[in-house]
Subunit: 339 residues, 2 copies
Amino acid sequence: MPKRIGRYTLRLENSPAILSYAAVAGKKEGLGPLGYEFDKIYEDTTAGESSWEKAESLMLRDALSRAIEKSGYTPGSINYVFAGDLLNQGIASTYGLRDLGIPFFGLYGACSNMSLSMTLASVYVESGAASLAACATSSHFCAAERQFRFPLEYGGQRTPTAQWTVTGAGALVLAEDGPGPFITRTTGGRIVDKGVRDMTNMGAAMAPAAADTIKNFFDDTGASPNDYDMILTGDLGLVGSRLLNELLKQEKLDIGERHRDCGILIFDCENQDVESGGSGCGCSAGVLCTHILNLLRDGGLSKILFCATGALMSPTSSQQGDSIPCIAHLVEICANRPQ
Amino acid sequence: MPKRIGRYTLRLENSPAILSYAAVAGKKEGLGPLGYEFDKIYEDTTAGESSWEKAESLMLRDALSRAIEKSGYTPGSINYVFAGDLLNQGIASTYGLRDLGIPFFGLYGACSNMSLSMTLASVYVESGAASLAACATSSHFCAAERQFRFPLEYGGQRTPTAQWTVTGAGALVLAEDGPGPFITRTTGGRIVDKGVRDMTNMGAAMAPAAADTIKNFFDDTGASPNDYDMILTGDLGLVGSRLLNELLKQEKLDIGERHRDCGILIFDCENQDVESGGSGCGCSAGVLCTHILNLLRDGGLSKILFCATGALMSPTSSQQGDSIPCIAHLVEICANRPQ
């Protein structure tokens, strides 16, 4: 059963197992350093659909369908799917999932969706409320740009702090038992808003939320960064990652050499013209559900923290002059079930 | 611990208690039949804020703050708040909650948010993952109209099937123990899309989802409509309520005289010029967190089903010609803890 540790953290004594996972992505992500690990690369931004939003729905459904297929189960066996995305009213998820008939819990945590969904689904599996629960999320560069910033046709120049929304989707299936990896602890994020108003600097806005959650995890558990092979943040990019390290050093936490960021891992930031790195729900989901879970499964990693970060503003709130509230949810993932 | 019953339903053996609740609303809702039961009526649609969206945030925070205050606890004692709303990126919730410091799980179930949040929060409390969990949601007529349909200044004529988005918010606090009422079972909804494309007829779009969830609940549990004092749907309005009754009759389920709908209860539909009734997350939350929970607390009701319904489209999906996927999540609420 879940046990509360400290103010923010749960220990999952049964350690729900990640039974299977899958991720799909677009062409640019396919050309990145992790490209060969994706289950499928869509060469065309519309994926053959009539709009970018429909393409994103298709990718989310594709990632989830592949994850379920690899689990050896059918969609009819999955008790619940926890899913959300960046599009207004979460339409990538709702249209992507509508034909599957799986009870659906819609989430919104912006780019923190992957760890948000894993946090909730793991409590469902841990407590027996679900035998099998799925998590899924997605993002699409073209759909996100026109919704949050400018129409692509406008050709606006990007700032050096901007991040490139990943086109792609990731999904996984959690079960009571399986070969793992396993989810062993979760730390729920609080909303943190340090007054950043720049819609083209998500990393700076989100870093304080990541710092808050990571600090809360270490305070609650008494663990140390040295206990982990990797502390993986969602998509802070180059700018946000530097800030996170500085903020944590002020708290006497040095995660430096163990820190990796999905927004930096997914692209070759030097050569792929993505400014500060990748972002979007599909970024952390895509990196987790390929490279990271592969390493945990194959012995390359044994214990990590996965802390996806989200910026919770909307174009409306930004136009009304408000700053950007952010959040980060953290899950601890172990290759082996703790004894 | 939660026990799975059938395909879609959970029995909560510890029956989380609704420790406290509160709701606030706008002037028009205050003039409706339940107006005197709200904790506060805001006479001005901006509630003194500089925009309708900010007013909605303020109302959500006000409802939650009042619910927490009545619980005898402080925001710092609440383990998690499960919240969402209709605005793009859930900004009523994220801006409303950002100063409270409570770990936040963002949801999107459109107008089903209240029962969605209660479904998830009750599993957290049932399993010990939370000692105290809060649920909150809101909507605002002016903010919703300009986001989903037309600018108010346009003065578009409303169709007879249209529903009036409620301005208001509701919130409650769940605890392991308390005087009740109690949440005893939950049924997670599937996405149902029968092809309705009319953005001004949410009732017709949502009724099949409500019918699906209600039928699943009765199939899973073997219960009968006669076991309940009231079967309360979210906000189907006059049009959707008629359809729900017809759809369930085809399934040999007669909920007729026990059925009530929050969209019909909150307004005087004959005289308040709301066409088919009320809608919006604030509708079912407002009716539940005033009249219904008052009746359960004071002996006027002993056992009900609360099934809030949501339409999961966006203006973008509608403009792209797609139909409206819908969902309904159901919670069983009892005045007394079952023996």
